[in-house]
Amino acid sequence: MTKHPLKMTKVALENLFQKPATVPYPAVRKPVYAATRGRIAIEEAKCILCLICDKKCPTGAIKVDRPGKTWAIDRLLCIQCGYCVEVCPKKCLGMENLYSPPVSAKAMDVVNVPFTPPPPKPKPPPASATPAATPAPEAGKE
């Protein structure tokens, strides 16, 4: 039955002398993949406050206020399914590959949307903007 009694000893000794499998987190960060579903970002210049993301969000994390001209998301309620990104008619929502930072209190991330209801002809290329609440290094990378 005990064909190789020292098999675990070998594994354990290798464990002892090899580099740790983990990274010392705050100092070193694991590289993120392009496809990683991190958090939702919005290019507010393109948003037309159409409410589709608000309606379609499976958890109701996105709240769009048309009169107040704001787009808001509860990051802790968001399940990163990316459904809003799929349904957005203007493609102004994107899935970033960075996770949202830890927070100590629940709050909505509110973004002001510069959109005037009677839409004029599409403006020249909208300046690619980053979400107002979180300074994201690389926005909308998918």
């Binding site: 190789h4 675990m8 496809a35 990683t36 579903r37 499976p58």
Partner: protein, 359 residues
Amino acid sequence: MANRTVIPFGPQHPVLPEPIHLDLVIEDEHVVEAIPSFGFIHRGLEKLAEKRDFTEFTFVAERICGICSYIHGMGYCQAIESVMGLEIPERAKWLRTMWAELSRMHSHMMWLGLLGDAFGFENLFMAFWRVREGLLDIIEETSGGRVIFGAAKVGGIRRDVPDDLLARIPAQLAKIEAEMRPITDVFRDDFSVRQRLCGVGVLSQKDAYDLGAVGPVLRGSGVAVDTRLEGYAAYDRVQVEPIVESDGDCWARAMVRIREVYQSFEILKQVLPNVPAGPVDMKVTGAPNGEFFARLEQPRGEVIYYVKGSGKKQLDRFRVRTPTFANIPPLLKMLQGCQLADVPVIVLTIDPCISCAER
């Protein structure tokens, strides 16, 4: 006759990731009978299907369980597609197969680690989880999530995987397989592992079949039933043999899972080079009208999805019968006559996932 005592086991116990309660009737050190109680985490997800659009319910279906999340989503979509008579694109079928196997591997590796932990072999636990991390990286790179893949969609898959990435995976898998060999050898040969697992919680072939056991519990008792043989997704074009062990004890169930991980490596070797080019999803119009029972093989065993629609956006009825639910009656049988100290190990060998059992 010795005195009988009732010892409560759970709902909170170190080996139990989720709450289930067992009343163990003990005579000396032996369990005479176990009576389970449920309902600590019943979430009413089946009822929720009556309120949600059937396409949006995919997100809920994927979150029925954390570990076998992908196959839950895939099974739900497969049931809906069968009702609506959709034939999804070939590429989507092959990628679904790939993800299903990746999810089986990471579930089994997690379980093997947890089993090591259950009998006090922390080093083995750490070793398995370290190797599993490599698989999670592949999963994250292809689907975007580490555990919740979020890739299932009625009519295909939600994101395509670039071909250069698919070409890179075999090398990563080969590395993981090489890292895995020494630690699974420990499982197979180590004296203390065999002392804790061999002959413990024996379930005979007849009992396993009659009590409706599924998955590795059934195959560990010598019954060759594997739903993958039915050939859903692309399983009809890959070689799948049911992995069977005959002893029916905890060790046999562990061996089935170890061999299934290696089998998944083999399946992926057949799948990855053969993923055809083409679209990954199709347009879904209308609403399901009819009913269908879909059967799939999850890491934990056979899972049943039932959907019934009447042409509305919401389903009339959605039901999942998860493998853990089917494995509860066999578990009670296994516990009869075992030592009290073996109860945590035996409970763990059915790979209990209570939140999916209660939905």
